[in-house]
Symmetry: C2
Subunit: 147 residues, 2 copies
């Protein structure tokens, strides 16, 4: 079972944003995680469109969380970043080739299991992920300037 | 969220085997799903190694379930066919590059969500997936000779 790289990077960017607690620049995230600037710019653009990040150009600008970290549920977030919720082929009608699609009970069982996956993630907020006892350590590892 | 193609095909082969109810040949599954013989041969070989299928060469031989369909739990099966349970990069220590691995609470939340996913699938057996009211229809769609 694999999440998209896009979801993985989205989670990392938002954790960075929550740890930072104020505006930052793309380059800071690039340095923090060693991920290409190009990839991160796309992720940040999409997270801004989804309403998770606010971006402002120019001097005094930067990127920051668009809503309180305590209001960001991880399950909802990952549902949104996993743009195509295609766990197996038949979840995408456009490309499905499986002949039993429509009478197969597996599809329902997989949908149910995915719901359980997301419901479990929804028990966690972004704030909770960065505000545990490891906060200081994560800050030291990720932030070039103190939070 | 995506399962490996290997898991997808494993599920299809086992559903075929359960519907068939007696020995069959690789070519029958190839025809049923339109999946390459080469791919399917690998899947069948692995499912035999895992103890889900029994294979016997020669005349009167063939492939069939190695245990009753009612004893095959879907969660356990998919855990086994998802050889690398790497939902995001940090689940594989060998290739991880994320600097906060070890202090990050996201990893625990994702592991918990994966467990919920598999526990939900474990509520279903292979028998249940093929013995619903759609059994006859699935049989017509998949089996070249009546089950």
């Amino acid at each position: 079972m694999k999440l998209s790289l896009f979801s993985d990077y989205s989670l990392r960017v938002l954790m960075f944003a929550a740890l930072k607690g104020r505006a930052f620049r793309v380059d800071e995230v690039t340095v923090a995680y060693g991920i290409s600037r190009n990839h991160l710019a796309k992720v940040i653009h999409r997270l801004a469109k989804l309403g998770y990040l606010a971006t402002r150009r120019g001097r005094g600008g930067g990127i920051q969380l668009a809503r309180p970290a305590g209001e960001i549920r991880i399950g909802k977030l990952v549902r949104e970043t996993e743009a195509q919720p295609v766990i197996v082929e038949c979840f995408d009608a456009a490309t499905n080739t499986c002949p039993i699609n429509g009478s197969c009970l597996l599809k329902g069982a997989l949908a149910e299991a995915m719901n359980a996956f997301y419901a479990t993630l929804d028990q966690h907020t972004l704030e909770e992920l960065v505000n545990g006892p490891q906060r200081a350590r994560m800050g030291r590892l990720l932030l070039t300037t103190p939070a």
